[in-house]
């Protein structure tokens, strides 16, 4: 029977099917961080259970870490306690732990791929919804809750009903300054934040084929924002080239065996999806959000939709605009910006900083904006320095912070103050996401760069020659 890419990875990982229930689903690689793991370890302790396969779990500190002065003790006692708990739990159970200051430390979804932990055909979970990022390699990767973290630690399995399958095709040629982030925000704006709930998405079409691995990661990362549990892209030569030689990637004979298997990981021609969508990539503009969920995005040159054109919850829409301090029919161009954040598991990789630098090179930071540039990992940070990007951004008046999730969820001190506006390359513009009362506009690193030097929402196309 013809199979989709998703079937080809899912089916061999089913340990047991439960009649009228979920599958017992085996997890190859498990990533943990300090926020969603402590209670899981506590559960193990209460049950008197050990971690079954410690070598399959990788720990990093990212959600709740400072992005300056990481060499000093963490000031917030609660954060410090969580970080210590991760370190102690990892040590006790023999799990690799990349804590603050470790050369491999960084955001969990950045370090997985860059260390070769993320591989095609693998099943990968983490107590974080943006685990979908790893689907860029043809892995099945999705976020889980803490109860499930405990399941994986103790038995390397979770209980999961097989989701339905959706394929999203984007074809055509992308316009100038349209990045993978814009493609994803466009899809979400068309589907809404619940349009893919219950589905696992495969992204197909030349737009994704033409993307770099980092671009594919950005797209897969945002799958959860359309409600999908995850998204994936069939591995190809770009994928294999990216993986080869990374620390945890297979080598020698194991590499050859893996390659033989990985090359089979694509959807059969006549395989069926429960839902199939097709979009024309050539109509996509640089995107920006105007509301309080990632589905509330429009092309940057457009105006905020009129309430009468909104399907469903008008009260929710009005609440959202009120929170943002916007009105229907407002133009987004020229909107006030107080903060710019470049970073997160969505856009905290080297290509994102290259994009940012391409716009700000030879220009100056706008005086009215505070700009936080936060690399996704130490490896990204090192690349920024080695490639001369640090020089470019320094000359333009910017500084670079240290790796972590930072203002994406504002668990640490990187909070946007109440009422202030941020253009952010992260993934969620929910009320208070970037700090109580903070107002977030999601956008690409190019749009973020344009805001950082002009001080208002600006179409990056006017700054590119």
């Amino acid at each position: 029977m013809s199979k989709t890419l998703f079937d080809k990875v899912w089916d061999p990982h089913v340990v047991r099917k439960i009649e009228g229930g979920p599958d017992v689903f085996f997890i190859d690689r498990h990533l943990i961080h300090e926020v969603t793991s402590p209670v899981a370890f506590l559960g193990l302790k209460n049950r008197g259970v050990k971690v079954l396969y410690p070598e399959r779990t990788f720990a990093t500190a990212d959600h709740n870490t400072p992005t300056i002065n990481q060499h000093l003790p963490v000031e917030d006692p609660l954060s410090a306690k969580q970080l210590k708990a991760l370190e102690d739990n990892s040590h006790e159970h023999g799990i690799r732990h990349w804590g603050l200051g470790h050369k491999n430390n960084g955001i969990v979804h950045v370090i997985g791929p860059e260390n070769g932990i993320t591989l095609p055909g693998a099943t990968i979970v983490c107590g974080d919804s943006h685990t979908s990022t790893h689907g860029a390699f043809g892995a099945i990767a999705f976020g889980i809750g803490t109860s499930e973290v405990e399941m994986v630690l103790s038995t390397q399995c979770i209980m999961q009903p097989k989701p339905k399958k959706m394929r999203i095709n984007v074809t055509g040629k992308l316009s100038k300054a349209v990045t993978p982030k814009d493609v994803a925000l466009y899809i979400i704006s068309q589907l809404s934040t619940s349009g893919a709930t219950g589905y696992f998405v495969e992204y197909a079409g030349n737009v994704f084929e033409d993307m770099t691995m980092e671009g594919r990661m950005t797209v897969c990362n945002l799958s959860i924002e359309m409600g999908a549990r995850g998204g994936m892209i069939a591995p190809d030569e770009k994928t294999f080239t990216y993986i080869k030689g990374r620390p945890f990637a297979p080598t020698g004979e194991a590499w050859d065996t893996a390659m033989t298997y990985w090359k089979t990981l694509k959807t059969d021609n006549d395989a069926q999806f429960d839902k199939e969508l097709i979009f024309d990539g050539s109509v996509i503009e640089p995107m920006i959000t105007f509301g309080t969920n990632p589905g509330m995005g429009i092309g940057i040159s457009q105006h905020i939709p009129m309430i009468d054109t909104i399907e469903g919850g008008k009260a929710t829409y009005e609440k959202s605009l009120k929170y943002m301090g916007y009105a229907e029919n407002d133009a987004m161009i020229g909107k006030k910006v107080d903060f710019v954040f470049v970073g997160s598991c969505t856009n905290g990789r080297i290509e994102d900083f290259r994009a940012f630098a391409s716009i700000v090179k030879g220009k100056k930071k706008a005086e009215n904006v505070t700009v936080w540039l936060v690399p996704g990992s130490h490896i990204v940070e090192d690349q920024i320095i080695e490639e001369g990007i640090l020089d470019i951004i320094t000359k333009a008046g910017f500084t670079l912070r240290q790796p972590g999730c930072s203002a994406c969820l504002a668990m640490n001190d990187d909070k946007i103050p109440a009422g202030k506006y941020a253009v952010s390359t992260s993934n969620r513009n929910f009320e208070g996401r970037q700090g109580p009362g903070a107002r977030t506009m999601l956008a690409s690193p190019l749009v973020a760069a344009a805001a950082a030097i002009t001080g208002v929402v600006t179409d990056p196309r006017v700054l590119i020659n």
């Binding site: 340990v15 439960i18 009649e19 085996f26 709740n64 974080d128 809750g145 038995t155 934040t193 619940s194």
Partner: protein, 198 residues
């Protein structure tokens, strides 16, 4: 963590008819710093419930003494966003045992089932009827019968059935959790793992 068995729940309900209520609203990230599962109910809907000086926002439903009970009725796409199980813990810890919505986000729904909060998905029409009934009379009781998989508005008798898979239903009726199940088949899992490429 084992939880209370769920069988029949008869209770008044708290209405929250907003759509796309995300888990950052249910429990903001700054309250995720605990290393134990304690006290999350205090911060349920923190920023909708309290002003920045910690005084209650009088217009938020949880601060309205008219509305109480173990059932939370939410709008469409309830629980979207972050996978934080803390959101489900906050709902449970506050005292809710059931969330009713016309549509749930996946991970939140799963997290609820794993910790003993029953997510009951109803039609948009039924959800509307529930909201109207509770707004008309906050003492209106709703009955949720897990064995029969029905939700009934007791004042009018209107009823709808809801879906839950047999495995999860059995777990909730008995207060079992998935880890109990998985622990029992550990040998089978280890045998299975030997045949995997990774």
């Amino acid at each position: 963590m084992a939880y209370d068995k769920f069988n029949i729940l008869k209770s008044t309900a708290v209405p929250l008819p907003l759509e796309n209520v995300d888990t950052d609203q249910i429990i903001p990230a700054r309250f995720l710093k605990a290393t134990e599962r304690l006290g999350f109910g205090d911060n349920l809907f923190r920023d909708w419930r309290y002003n920045s000086d910690n005084s209650p926002k009088v217009d938020f439903v949880l601060n309205d003494p008219k509305y109480t009970g173990k059932i939370l009725i939410g709008g469409k796409n309830f629980g979207s966003g972050s996978s934080r199980e803390h959101a489900a813990w906050a709902v449970y810890d506050y005292g809710f045992r059931c969330v009713v919505s016309s549509f749930f986000a996946d991970i939140f729904k799963n997290n609820c089932l794993n910790i003993g909060v029953l997510p009951v998905q109803v039609s948009a029409e039924f959800s509307e009827q529930l909201f109207n009934a509770v707004y008309d009379d906050p003492t209106t009781e709703i009955e949720i019968d897990l064995v029969k998989q029905t939700i009934t508005l007791l004042s009018t008798g209107i009823q709808e059935s809801f879906d839950i898979n047999n495995y999860k239903k059995d777990n909730m009726l008995n207060g079992f959790d998935d880890i109990d199940y998985l622990q029992n088949i550990k040998g089978e899992i280890q045998e299975f793992a030997k045949g995997l490429p990774l």
